[in-house]
C-alpha cells in the first residue's frame, strides 16, 4: 500500500467532487451558500457516522445491512424508555444506545461464532431489529421531548451544526484508527487474507466482533441525532440507510471484496453523494429521482472498481 497508490483513487474522487460542486453551483445560485452547505452537513451526519463503521466492516470483507434497523430500534427504545418507562431522558438516551450497540454485538457474535456469512446474518437481523422496533412501538410515535434535547440535532457550536462537529471528530478518530494503529492493520489483513492474518497471530474474530459492535454503536449515535433533529421517533426511521452508507463507502474506493479502502475516501464519497442529492433537488429533480441516481452511482462505482481490480491482477 504505497501512499501514491492509495491516494490515486482519492485524488480522482476529490477532483470529481470539486467538479460536481462547480457544476451544481452554476445550476443553482442557492447551492454554494454557507447556509446551504452547513445545512447539508447537518443532513449528512447520520449516514456519515454509519458509513465510518461501514468502512471498517467492508474492509474486513463483510457487510452490515442491519444498521438502518438498529437506528430505528434505538430511536424507538429511546422514546419508550423515556415516555413509557418514565426514565430521565439522559438515562433513556444512554440505555437506548447501549441496546443499539448490543444489537451490533449480536451481529458480530452470529458472524464469528456460527460462521454465518455477514450478508445473511445482517439481512436476518435487519428484519429482526426493524420488527422489534415495530412491535415495541406499535406504530405510535413519541413526541414532546424537552427543548435541551434538540441541541444534538439542531444546535450549533461556533456557527457550525453540532452533529457536524460529532461527524468531524468521529471521522478523524476513525481515520487514525484505520490508518495508523495495529487494529487498523489487523482490519486490512483480515479483509485481504483472513487465513494468513490468523496464521500471523492476528485475532481475526475479536477484531470482527469489535467492528460489528462499533457499527451498532455508530447507528445508535446516529439515532439520537436523528430523533433530536426531527423531534419525534417513528419505527420506520433509518429505512434504507444501509444502502446510502454502502454507496458512500464503495464510492470512496473501498473494495467490496475487502482488504482495501480509506476513511478519507469514504468522507469524499459522502460529500459527493450529498452534493448530488442536494444539487439535483435544487435544480428541480424530485426527491425520489435522487434515489435512482444513488443506485446508478453505486452500481457504476463498483463496476469501475471491479474492472480496476481485474486489471491489477490477483
Amino acid at each position: 500500500m504505497t501512499a501514491a497508490k492509495l491516494f490515486r483513487h482519492e485524488t480522482i474522487l476529490a477532483a470529481l467532487t470539486v467538479i460536481a460542486m462547480i457544476v451544481l453551483a452554476s445550476l443553482s445560485d442557492k447551492f454554494f451558500t454557507a447556509e446551504n452547505l452547513l445545512n447539508q452537513g447537518r443532513l449528512m451526519a447520520e449516514v456519515g457516522l454509519i458509513s465510518l463503521a461501514m468502512t471498517f466492516v467492508i474492509v474486513t470483507g463483510g457487510i452490515d445491512l442491519s444498521v438502518g434497523s438498529i437506528l430505528g430500534l434505538t430511536a424507538i427504545l429511546l422514546g419508550v424508555f423515556w415516555k413509557n418507562l418514565g426514565l430521565p431522558l439522559p438515562a433513556a438516551i444512554l440505555l437506548a444506545m447501549v441496546c443499539g450497540t448490543f444489537a451490533g454485538f449480536v451481529n458480530g457474535l452470529i458472524i464469528t461464532r456460527f460462521s454465518v456469512p455477514p450478508l445473511i446474518a445482517t439481512l436476518a437481523t435487519l428484519a429482526l431489529y426493524r420488527g422489534l422496533a415495530e412491535g415495541i412501538s406499535e406504530a405510535r410515535s413519541v413526541r414532546g421531548y424537552p427543548e435541551w434535547f434538540f441541541f444534538f440535532g439542531q444546535g450549533e457550536v461556533l456557527g457550525v451544526p453540532f452533529q457536524l462537529w460529532v461527524l468531524g471528530i468521529a471521522t478523524a478518530i476513525a481515520a487514525v484508527i484505520l490508518g495508523l494503529t495495529p487494529f487498523g492493520r489487523a482490519t486490512y489483513a483480515t479483509g485481504a487474507n483472513e487465513v494468513a492474518a490468523r496464521f500471523s497471530g492476528i485475532r481475526v474474530n475479536a477484531a470482527k466482533l469489535w467492528i460489528y459492535t462499533a457499527s451498532g454503536f455508530c447507528a445508535a449515535l446516529a439515532a439520537v441525532i436523528f430523533v433530536s433533529r426531527v423531534t419525534t421517533t417513528r419505527s420506520d426511521m433509518g429505512t434504507g440507510l444501509e444502502l446510502d452508507a454502502i454507496t458512500a463507502v464503495v464510492l470512496g474506493g473501498t473494495s467490496i471484496f475487502g482488504g482495501r479502502g480509506t476513511i478519507i475516501g469514504t468522507a469524499l464519497g459522502l460529500i459527493l453523494i450529498q452534493a448530488l442529492k442536494n444539487g439535483l433537488a435544487l435544480s428541480g429533480v424530485k426527491g425520489d429521482g435522487t434515489i435512482v441516481v444513488i443506485g446508478l452511482v453505486l452500481i457504476g462505482a463498483i463496476l469501475v472498481g471491479a474492472l480496476f481490480d481485474r486489471n491489477r491482477g490477483g
Binding site: L126, G135, D236, G240, D288, G289, I291, G295
Partner: protein
Amino acid sequence: MSGAAFSPGRSNLQRFLSGYGQEIVVLLSIAALFAVVGAVNPRFLSDTNINSIFAGNAYIAIAAIGMSMIIMAGHIDVSVGALIGVIATIAGTLAVKGYPIWMAWSVPIIFAIAVNAAVGTLVAYTRIPSIVVTLGMLSILKGGLISATQGEWITNMPAEFMIAQMRPFGIPSAVWFMVALTIIAALFLRYTDFGRSIYAVGGNMEAARAAGINPERTVIGVFALHGLFAGIAGILFATQLQVIQSTVPPNLELTIITASVIGGVSILGGTGTVIGSTLAAILFACIGSALIFLNVSAYWLRAVLGLMILATVLADMVRRRRDK
C-alpha cells in the same frame, strides 16, 4: 447384491423423510397452526379467511419460486419487492390507457425478465456480489417508481384485466397459478438439464465447469427465470385489489427470501425445493392471519419473520458444521 433394488439400511420411507424433511416440518406447522388457532377462534377457519390467506399471498409464493432458484444458484436478489411494484404499475397504467389486455399482462413480464437478465449478466461476468448489484437495482426501481407515479394510485382498471380476481371452478385464479407454477417449477428443476445445472452451479461452481456446464450462462438464465416468476407475481399483485398503490408491502423482498430459506433452500446454495418455499409462504400468511385472530398485534409479524430467518440460518450452519 440381492438388495440392490433398495438401499441397504434405509427404507423408502426414511429416504422420503430425509429428502423432504423441511417440507414436512413446514406442512406440519401449517396443520398445527390451523388446529390451534381454529380451536381458539373458529372464525380463523372460515371460508373467507382461508380464501384470503391463500389468494392474497399467492403472489408471494410465486415470487419465492424464482427466489429459491436464485438462492440455490448461490445468489440473492433484494430488489424483487420493488420490481413487483414497478410491474404492477406498468401493467395497471397500460390497462387504464386502453392497451389490449394481453399487452398489459405480457409487457411488464417481459420488462421484468429483461431487467433481471441484465442483473444476471452483471453478476455473472463481473463477479460483483449479487447483493450489491440488486441493492443498487432496488434503489433505481424504488426511486423510479415513486418519481413516475408521484405516489398516485391507479384505479378504474377494466374488469377483464383483473386476472387475480377470476375464479375458475370456484377457486381464485391466483391459487391456480400458485399451484400450477410450483408443480411446473418442481418438474423443471428435477427433469431438465438446466434445472440440475442450477443446483450444480450453486453447489460447486468449479466442479460444474469441469462437468461441462457454463456457470455464467446458468446464472444469467436463473436471473431471467426469476424475472419471469416476479413478473407473474407482479401481475397477480396488480390485479388482486381494485387499486394499485404506488408502494408494495414493506420488506416484501425479505418475506420472499424468508419463504425460500424456511422452505429448505440453503442460503449457501446448492440445495432446496420450490415446494418447500411455497409451503413456507403459505405458513407466513397463516402466521400473519393467526396473529390477528389471536389478538396479537400484527406489528410483531416482522420480528417473528426475522427470528425465523435467523433460526433457520443458524440451524443450517450448525448442520453443515456437523456434516463436515
